[in-house]
C-alpha cells in the first residue's frame, strides 16, 4: 500500500474570510523605489507561498519529499534555484504533515534560502550564524555542509533558542553548537571563522505577506535603535571572519537605513572589506541595492547588493549583501 495516497491529504485549518489587499501605511515610503508601486502594495498584502527543502542527511530525502509533496499538496512546484526544494501554495501547511516530525524536510520562506545561497558554506568549514533563532538558516547551512565542519548558532535571547534547538534536534544535526552571546561582542575564537551570517534584527517590513498585509509602523526612534544594533553586529562579524572569508548581511526589511546605509557604514569603517557582486540565482528575479534614497547617496558598488521585492519575485521582502575581507 502506498504510504501517502492511502491516507489522503492532511486536514487543514479553515480559511478565513477573503479580504481585498490594501497597502500597509508603513510601505508607502517605498513607492518611489519599488518600481510599480501598486503592484508592490498588492503583492505585499497577498499571502506568501511556502517552501520546503529536503534534509539530505536522510537517505533518499529528495525523492521521498517529492512524493510527499505530490500526495499532500496540489499545486506544489520544484523551486528552480534550489535542488530538491519545493514551492507550495500559501494555504498549504507542511509543518503539520506527519512526515515533518521525522526530520525529512524543513519549511522556510524562499527569501531565507537566498541568504544561505549567498553565504555558500562548504563541508568542513567554520561558520557563525550571529543571529540564528529560530534556526532555519542555521539548519540549512549545516545540511548544505553535509553536517561536517562547525556551525555556531548564536542568539542573545534564551527564549528564542528553544525553537532553534527543536529544529536542530528534529533534523538530527550534529555539527551545530548553540551559544547565547551578545552578537555585538561575540568572543573571538582562537581560529577565525570562514563565513559569518548576520541576519540582523530589523523592522521586518518584508514580512507583511505573513500577516495579511498588516504591518506596524516603525518609529524613527525604533529604527535608529535597530540601526545601531545592525551596524555593531556587522562590524563585529567582519572582525570575526578570516582574511579571505565571507560575511553575508541580510534583513527582511525594505528600509535603506537598515540595509544599504548599514553596509556602507561597515565598509567605510572596516579596512580591507569589499562588497561582492551578487547576480542572484537563475530563476529568482532580484534587484540591485539602491544607490540613492532621499538625501542619501551611496557608491555605485552598492548595486552589487541584492533586493527581493514581492511583486517581482513573489517572495517576502529581503535584502542581502556579501562582503569579503581581503
Amino acid at each position: 500500500m502506498d504510504l501517502l495516497s492511502s491516507t489522503g491529504p492532511a486536514p487543514r485549518r479553515p480559511a478565513g474570510p477573503t479580504q481585498a489587499p490594501r497597502a500597509a501605511p508603513a510601505l508607502h515610503r517605498y513607492a518611489a523605489v519599488a518600481g510599480d508601486a501598486q503592484a508592490f502594495f498588492d503583492a505585499a498584502a497577498s499571502p506568501l507561498p511556502r517552501v520546503v527543502w529536503p534534509n539530505t542527511l536522510r537517505p533518499r530525502a529528495a525523492e521521498t519529499l517529492a512524493r510527499v509533496v505530490g500526495a499532500r499538496c496540489a499545486g506544489g512546484e520544484p523551486l528552480s534555484w534550489w535542488p530538491g526544494a519545493w514551492r507550495l501554495p500559501p494555504d498549504s501547511e507542511p509543518g503539520r504533515w506527519p512526515e515533518f516530525a521525522t526530520g525529512l524536510y524543513h519549511c522556510q520562506e524562499e527569501a531565507s534560502l537566498l541568504a544561505v545561497w549567498a553565504l555558500d558554506p562548504q563541508p568542513g568549514e567554520r561558520v557563525l550564524d550571529l543571529c540564528a533563532a529560530p534556526g532555519g538558516k542555521t539548519a540549512l547551512c549545516a545540511v548544505r555542509m553535509g553536517d561536517r565542519g562547525l556551525v555556531i548558532a548564536n542568539d542573545s535571547v534564551l527564549s528564542r533558542l528553544v525553537a532553534l534547538g527543536d529544529t536542530l534536534a528534529r533534523l538530527g544535526l550534529t555539527s551545530v553548537v548553540v551559544t547565547r552571546c551578545d552578537g555585538r561582542s561575540f568572543p573571538a575564537p582562537a581560529s577565525p571563522f570562514d563565513r559569518v551570517l548576520v541576519d540582523a534584527p530589523c523592522s521586518c517590513e518584508g514580512n507583511s505577506r505573513k500577516q495579511g498585509g498588516r504591518l506596524p509602523l516603525c518609529s524613527p526612534a525604533k529604527r535608529d535603535g535597530l540601526v545601531r544594533i545592525q551596524r555593531a553586529l556587522l562590524c563585529r562579524a567582519l572582525e570575526l571572519v578570516r582574511p579571505g572569508g565571507v560575511v553575508v548581511y541580510s534583513t527582511c526589511t525594505y528600509a535603506p537605513e537598515e540595509n544599504e546605509a548599514v553596509v556602507a557604514h561597515a565598509v567605510a569603517s572596516t579596512p580591507g572589506v569589499r562588497i561582492e557582486h551578487l547576480a542572484g540565482p537563475r530563476g529568482l528575479r532580484t534587484s540591485g541595492g539602491l544607490v540613492r534614497w532621499g538625501e542619501a547617496h551611496w557608491p555605485t558598488w552598492m548595486e552589487h547588493a541584492v533586493r527581493l521585492w514581492p511583486h517581482r519575485s513573489d517572495t517576502g521582502g529581503f535584502f542581502l549583501a556579501r562582503l569579503r575581507r581581503v
Binding site: 500500500m1 502506498d2 504510504l3 501517502l4 492511502s6 491516507t7 492532511a10 486536514p11 487543514r12 485549518r13 542527511l57 536522510r58 537517505p59 533518499r60 521521498t64 512524493r67 509543518g95 503539520r96 504533515w97 506527519p98 512526515e99 515533518f100 516530525a101 521525522t102 526530520g103 525529512l104 568542513g124 553536517d147 561536517r148 565542519g149 562547525l150 555556531i152 534564551l158 533558542l161 534547538g165 527543536d166 536542530l168 534536534a169 528534529r170 538530527g172 544535526l173 550534529t174 555539527s175 551545530v176 553548537v177 548553540v178 551559544t179 547565547r180 552571546c181 568572543p187 575564537p189 582562537a190
Partner: protein
C-alpha cells in the same frame, strides 16, 4: 578546544557505544567521526561531529544532538538520535508499513505481535527511514516524539487510526 564552562568531551563513551551495539546492533565504528560530550553536572550525553569545538568564552547552550538523557542501563537513546542513526541498526528494529508509520507519527499505539516483544526499538519504515525510538509494552508499539512535534500536527489529528501490525 574541547571544553568550556558548560560542556566537555566525554572521556570514555564506551557504555553508550556498548549499549548501542548490544541493543540495536549499531557498530561502534559508525561513530568514529563523532565525539561524545556531556554537560557539566548533568546526566545527558550529546553527540557532535568531530570537527566541533567550543571556546572557553562562549556561553554554550548545546553541542550537537542529545543522544542519551540518562546513562545506560536506565537511560535510552533519544528519539532524535534514533531517527538520525537508526538506519544503521541491525537488531531490535520494528519495521512498520505505511499506514502504521503515519499512525505512530500521529501518536497512536499499534498492535505488535512480532519480535522483539518488549522494550526499546528502532521504528523504521521503507519510505521514511528511521522514525525514532519506539517502545513495545504488552503487545503494543508506540513511537516517542517530542510533544512540540505532535502539537504541530494539530488537534485535527486527534482521531487517530489504530491499525494492527501485519
Amino acid at each position: 578546544m574541547h571544553a568550556c564552562a558548560a560542556f566537555e568531551v566525554l572521556a570514555d563513551p564506551t557504555p553508550y557505544l556498548r549499549w548501542l551495539e548490544e541493543r540495536f546492533g549499531i557498530a561502534p565504528s559508525t561513530f568514529e567521526s563523532y565525539r561524545w560530550w556531556r554537560r557539566r553536572g548533568a546526566r545527558a550525553v550529546w553527540i557532535a561531529a568531530r570537527d566541533v569545538v567550543v571556546d572557553a568564552q562562549w556561553a554554550v547552550e548545546a553541542v550537537g544532538l542529545v543522544a542519551f538523557r540518562k546513562p545506560p542501563p536506565r537511560g535510552y537513546p533519544t528519539t532524535a538520535f534514533v531517527a538520525r542513526f537508526g538506519g544503521f541498526a541491525t537488531r531490535r528494529v520494528a519495521e512498520v508499513g505505511d499506514v502504521e508509520a503515519l499512525a505512530l507519527l500521529r501518536g497512536a499505539e499499534i498492535d505488535w505481535n512480532s519480535e522483539p516483544t518488549a522494550g526499546p526499538v528502532v521504528v523504521r519504515n521503507a519510505s521514511l527511514g528511521a522514525l525514532g525510538r519506539g517502545w513495545i509494552r504488552s503487545g503494543r508499539l508506540t513511537l516517542e516524539l517530542r510533544r512540540e512535534w505532535r502539537r504541530r500536527m494539530g488537534a485535527a489529528n486527534d482521531h487517530q487510526p489504530n491499525p494492527s501490525h501485519n
